[in-house]
């Protein structure tokens, strides 16, 4: 406490910094409780209708008394959310398995082209989304594939595998190779060693990678925009399309729920990472 002004300035700066990051989120949370169905900038009183509408408990948004006319129905929005979740679950599973297997292979085995693989796995992360999106679109069209849920999942896996790979690789680099040797020395085959020693030791990294993949997949707009079929709209694409005409108030409710889920997932991730394994 030598200089109280320094301390005050630092605190003020920190508060401003957090306000800058979190204010937009707080605004959305606030709007999600605003009863005004047309202009969310004008406060018309507190309501839980938009949340109730999401779960089919209130029809105010589509009811007779609704002053606003939205083309999109709540059902369509929920369908988009379901599509997003489906894509995220499949993408996370596939990219976690491939990313983890690749990280183990590159860290533990010597083979031709090892350095090449290492470098090229980073590339999809560095590439601008728009380039990747166009590339995937041309690729799918050239192969004659119908744009669908499958193309979205394949597209997401191409870059999310890299994210999982990098996180698991960091974990495996810090692992004592003698652990696997000890397991083999005590009579365990490679498969048993993988199951009983290597995977449990890598678990925090694998979980962290999977959570990250899930969040990025849920969130992706640019790439998905290029490769999603007509009937398979993800939530980000759906919201983006809505912006031009006006945002349904239910969007704020759904955004608030997603923020809540993200906070829970992030907390889970931090907890997993801090858990001691040695």
């Amino acid at each position: 406490m030598r200089n109280p002004w320094g301390w005050i300035a630092l605190t003020g700066f920190s508060l401003l910094f957090f306000a800058f990051i979190y204010a937009p989120l707080l605004v959305i949370i606030g709007y999600s409780f605003n009863a005004n169905p047309v202009n969310m900038m004008i406060w018309e009183g507190f309501t839980l209708d938009w949340y109730a509408g999401l779960f089919g408990l209130s029809d105010r948004a589509t009811g007779v008394g609704n002053r606003a006319a939205y083309i999109e129905s709540t059902d369509q929005m929920l369908a988009a959310l379901r599509t997003s979740l489906t894509v995220a679950v499949f993408t996370t599973t596939i990219s976690t398995v491939i990313g983890t297997a690749t990280a183990i292979a590159l860290a533990r085995y010597r083979f031709r082209g090892r350095g090449f693989y290492n470098g090229f796995l980073m590339l999809p992360m560095m590439m601008p989304d728009i380039v990747l999106g166009i590339g995937l679109l041309i690729f799918f069209v050239t192969l004659g594939m119908q744009l669908s849920l499958v193309t979205i999942i394949i597209g997401h896996c191409t870059f999310l595998t890299s994210y999982v790979f990098i996180i698991v690789q960091a974990r495996i680099a810090g692992l004592d190779p003698a652990l696997e040797e000890a397991s083999a020395d005590l009579g365990a085959s490679e498969w048993t060693t993988l199951r009983k020693v290597l995977l449990p030791q890598l678990a925090p990294g694998i979980m962290g990678g999977a959570l990250l993949a899930f969040v990025i997949s849920m969130d992706d707009l640019v790439i998905t925009y290029f490769i999603s079929g007509v009937g398979d709209t993800t939530l980000p694409v759906f919201i983006f399309g809505m912006i031009r005409r006006g945002v349904k108030p239910e969007i704020n409710a759904i955004a608030t729920l997603i923020i809540l889920a993200s906070v829970i997932i992030a907390a889970l991730g931090l907890w997993l990472r801090s858990r001691k394994t040695d």
Binding site: A178, D185, K196
Partner: protein
């Protein structure tokens, strides 16, 4: 009776990044008997760890054979070899309890849970960790982890236990205590230990036999006393304990004694043993072989270090040549700058042929 472990002409080369080759094992032959405590001793890079890893199966030999109890192990992967290892880093599984770590070999072998638990408890008892089974390795001290690693390696009752510098991470007191415990554990278990270390004191304390290695080859195999008193060459003499080496020429032979001199004129007495005048030899004397006497090598104390019961002196001979290292008891009144004569018993001198 055939030895437990027979290693014949073991050879292993490593490629260097520059494209050259390093010979880690240069045609090594070694026999280890059942129930024997053998130490592989040498400076880093001498091949001792490679030899140990060749026995456990983590290094494959380029040529040569390794047989255990008559069975050829040479091509077998580590998990098919009936030997177990205590690793330098202990390599305990952090996500498992101490009990599960110790019982791992039995778990993998498919031993029933009840029997496994009984054997784990018994083995933990053996290494002095009774009741610690429920803890995680992260909650143990360094010495306790060491014991868990030991328990884990002996639970499957291997005929041969390999130990890769297992005590190097412990502090001095704990290390000395563990040396004694390891030795007594080996006696009680009745299995052979091969112990790798670069600490010659550790090797002398624990071993039935010591294998001194250098640059991929074995320099000498013998009991600690043999290695210390009768080193086969300069390298062994200098690596094991403190040594005074004198390159001498025989002056003359009188009765049972040969009088020899170094180039500088330091006089060393040897047993005659049919030596001839003009013969060139290397005389080896340990620091404790010298006594302060009324006559002998005249010199000045350059450095005196007090070691409790002993006094460790560095004496510069008047006639020149390297300082002589001496350990005396009751060095009362001796300090830096003291002038004294050093005498020795000719029978204590170990002689290597050639200067």
């Amino acid at each position: 009776m055939a030895p437990l472990l027979e290693i014949r002409a073991a050879r292993r080369d490593f490629a260097t990044p520059e494209g050259g080759k390093i010979c880690a094992l240069d045609g090594v032959d070694l026999d280890v008997d059942a129930n024997e405590f053998v130490t592989l001793l040498g400076p880093s890079g001498c091949g001792k760890t490679t030899l140990l890893r060749a026995i456990s199966g983590f290094e494959m030999l380029d040529s040569g054979t390794i047989r255990l109890g008559g069975t050829d192990l040479t091509g077998l992967p580590p998990f098919r070899r009936p030997v177990n290892t205590v690793f330098q880093s202990y390599a305990l599984f952090g996500h498992m309890t101490v009990a599960r770590n110790v019982g791992y070999a039995l778990e993998v072998a498919g031993v029933a849970k009840a029997q496994r638990e009984a054997e784990v408890a018994e083995t933990l008892e053996k290494v002095g960790l009774g009741g610690m089974g429920a803890r995680k390795p992260g909650q143990l001290s360094g010495g306790q982890r060491q014991r868990v690693a030991l328990a884990r390696a002996i639970i499957a009752k291997p005929r041969l236990l390999l130990l890769d510098e297992p005590l190097s991470a412990l502090d001095r007191n704990l290390r000395q205590q563990m040396q004694i415990e390891l030795k007594s554990l080996q006696h009680r278990l009745g299995i052979a230990f091969i112990f790798v270390t670069h600490d010659q004191e550790e090797a002398l304390t624990m071993s039935d036999r010591i294998v001194v290695m250098r640059a991929g080859g074995i320099q000498q195999i013998g009991t600690p006393r043999d290695i210390y008193r009768h080193p086969r060459n300069r390298f062994v003499a200098e690596f094991i304990g403190e040594t005074n080496l004198f390159s001498v020429t025989v002056d003359r032979v009188e009765g049972g004694t040969a009088l020899t001199r170094t180039a500088e004129g330091v006089q060393v007495l040897l047993p005659a043993d049919g030596r001839k005048t003009g013969e060139r030899l290397t005389a080896i004397l340990r620091p404790a072989d010298f006594t302060i006497a009324a006559q002998g090598i005249l010199g000045t104390v350059a450095r005196a270090v007090y070691l409790g019961p002993d006094l460790h002196l560095s004496v510069t001979p008047d006639c020149g040549g390297p300082d002589i290292s001496v350990i005396v008891r009751d060095g009362l009144g001796v300090g830096e700058g003291t002038r004294l004569h050093l005498a020795h018993d000719p029978a204590r001198v170990h002689v290597l042929e050639g200067g």
